[in-house]
């Protein structure tokens, strides 16, 4: 073709191809996660039946006879998530309402950075806080509580999630057009009525999305539950007992020295696959809602 086409290719197409390769790495990472999880999970299910994995109610990989029913780990994870959302949903939402509807500008500028700092604190520090501060308080009030318990870990996971719920819900409420608020004020509504009957219903999809993404984070949280919730997989809903979550089991086995190829080692991959599938489902629903709601206004 043209005389300079070779040079054009080197100068223009070269960088573009390199950049495209870099962008495709993110796809490779996803494939890598799925392939590496599958590599050992398939081996696990050669030794343990799928039926046992999903229906057995005991998880005792270190004892004989070994049971591989994931139910106790899933229930432990749900218990933590439930307690965490019991803390994060009301506090996060209320603080978002305050920041978006009530706070004077000065107050916003003062308290928003605090939430950002709270969001930046490493989970290991929250774990330390749960074990050495929250747990002793719970045990003073309820003396029969185990040293490792779901309540303490759940509360602190909830605290960790407050900034996330708050900032995502606030974004959703800020996106509600002011004309809607003004219409309600013109009809004589108080600020509370405007908030509860106009702003929140209009922002509900964004608020729900913030909850869903927070649930996903709670399910995947590892260090707080490993330190404070214990390592006894138990099918219980009692928050004062020691339990084990999926993430804590993975950490427990990998911190020890389970040899490559052993059934304990493979069970980590099976649990991680379930963990990955659950969080992926929550994330997909969460981002789907966020996107849909963004199109509304």
């Amino acid at each position: 073709m043209l005389h300079f086409s070779d040079k054009f290719f080197r100068r223009e197409k070269g960088p573009e191809i390199l950049l495209a390769l870099a962008a495709s790495v993110s796809i490779l990472v996803t494939i890598g996660i799925i392939v590496s999880l599958f590599s050992e999970t398939s081996g696990f299910f050669k030794e343990v039946s799928v039926k046992e994995f999903f229906t057995d109610t005991k998880w005792t990989p270190f004892f004989r006879p070994a049971h591989y029913g994931i139910a106790p780990l899933v229930v432990g994870t749900m218990l933590i998530t439930f307690i965490a959302m019991g803390v994060a949903a009301p506090l996060g939402l209320a603080s978002a309402i305050y920041l978006s509807e009530y706070a004077p500008d000065k107050m916003r500028r003062l308290t928003k950075p605090v939430l950002e700092v709270l969001a930046g604190i490493p989970t290991i520090v929250y774990g330390y806080f749960a074990l050495t501060f929250v747990t002793p308080i719970i045990r003073t009030v309820l003396p029969h509580t185990n040293v490792f318990n779901a309540l303490s870990a759940g509360i602190v996971v909830g605290i960790m999630l407050i900034p996330m719920v708050s900032s995502l819900s606030e974004d959703a409420m800020m996106a509600v057009p002011n004309s809607l608020r003004e219409a309600a004020y013109a009809l004589g509504a108080t600020k509370l009525e405007v908030t509860l009957k106009v702003v929140i219903p209009s922002a509900v999809s964004g608020i729900v999305a913030s909850f869903i993404l927070a649930i996903s984070r709670a399910i995947g949280e590892t260090m707080i539950v490993t330190l404070a919730a214990g390592s006894t997989p138990k099918l219980t809903l009692n928050p004062l007992e020691s339990i084990q979550t999926m993430t804590a089991f993975i950490a427990q086995v990998l911190l020890g020295d389970a040899p490559f190829g052993s059934i304990e080692y493979k069970s980590v991959y099976a649990v991680a696959s379930v963990l990955f599938a659950i969080t992926l489902a929550f994330n997909l629903v969460g981002t789907w809602i966020v996107r849909r709601y963004k199109e509304v206004y």
């Binding site: 950049l19 796809i27 506090l91 989970t123 520090v125 991959y269």
Partner: protein, 294 residues
């Protein structure tokens, strides 16, 4: 008129009262965050009193808490971060440039974008398992600094890409048009106009991403960052530990003295994070208004 008054009563007083009560409720929820932060910081600071000194920074871990220190963990953290940065920063910026400048509006973009959002939500321990499988075993890097740094790099990649995309998007379209009008090619426009003006925003994102990585513990548990290390790693293939894993190890011991040195190590970790975030905020404030001015 009288009849109407009976049917419609505005109840102004009770409604306003309810509004005032709820305002205080919302306000106290907002204060709860501040209160927790205050409690957490003071608890850690109080616990660490008397344990945080120069000897603690320059010593190796020990069975005796009064002799233990965080030197190898500090080196490990710094080295892991260097590998993470070298690996993830160029890759992340390049991916962001491609998505924003070359793939805009294409089907490919929406697929990759959705994929990146989902990667950001994958639990960090799953990244650890990815690293264990791919880097430690398949690529035979062993339980090394290199494997740890690469794993951490994959973890922060989505964060770097998303923040870099935002910075690139903030560069006004008119600047690109001006460059094209002067005869610049696409790549020249990207290289000499878009990237330089997006740089402060990209930098801020990088610092925030790395400060998240510094505090991450879970992804390096599967890699096998050891906790009892008597040497400072010399090559990327040496075994290592990092500050958060050292903190985990000390916290999980029942003795109070170990909890105290865990608290001291937390103070160091938070100090490093504070420094990094201050730099990020400084950069953000310094360059924030610049694009609008021109």
């Amino acid at each position: 008129m009288a009849l109407q008054d009976e049917i419609f009563s505005p109840r102004f007083e009770s409604r306003e009262r309810r509004n005032a009560i709820c305002k205080w409720l919302f306000f106290s929820a907002n204060l709860a965050g501040i209160l927790v932060l205050f409690l957490l910081l003071s608890k850690v600071l109080l616990d660490s009193i008397g344990w945080l000194d120069l000897q603690f920074i320059t010593s190796f871990p020990s069975r005796f808490p009064e002799r233990a220190g965080i030197l190898p963990a500090l080196y490990g953290t710094v080295y892991v971060m260097v590998i993470t940065a070298v690996f993830a920063i160029p890759l992340g910026i390049a991916a962001a440039v491609f998505l924003e400048e070359y793939a805009k509006g294409s089907k490919l973009l929406s697929i990759i974008q959705l994929n990146i959002y989902n990667l950001a939500g994958v639990p960090s321990i799953v990244y650890g398992i990815l690293g264990l499988t791919v880097f430690v075993r398949w690529m035979q890097l062993g339980r090394s600094l290199l494997a740890g740094g690469l794993t951490m790099g994959l973890l922060v990649l989505p964060v770097i890409i998303v923040t870099a995309q935002e910075a690139i998007r903030a560069v006004p379209e008119s600047w690109r048009h001006a460059a094209y009008a002067l005869g610049a090619s696409k790549w020249q426009t990207v290289r000499y106009v878009v990237l330089p003006s997006a740089l402060p925003g990209i930098l801020t994102g990088i610092i925030l991403a790395l400060s998240r990585a510094i505090g991450e513990t879970a992804p390096l548990i599967p890699i096998g960052a050891l906790t009892f290390i008597r040497t400072i790693p010399k090559s990327p293939f040496d075994s290592f530990t990092i500050l958060p894993i050292q903190i985990y190890n000390w916290t999980s011991r029942p003795r109070d003295e170990f909890r105290a040195i865990a608290a001291a190590a937390i103070v160091v970790l938070l100090g490093v994070l504070l420094a990094m975030n201050s730099i990020a905020i400084f950069l953000r404030n310094k360059y924030q208004g610049r694009i609008k001015e021109v």
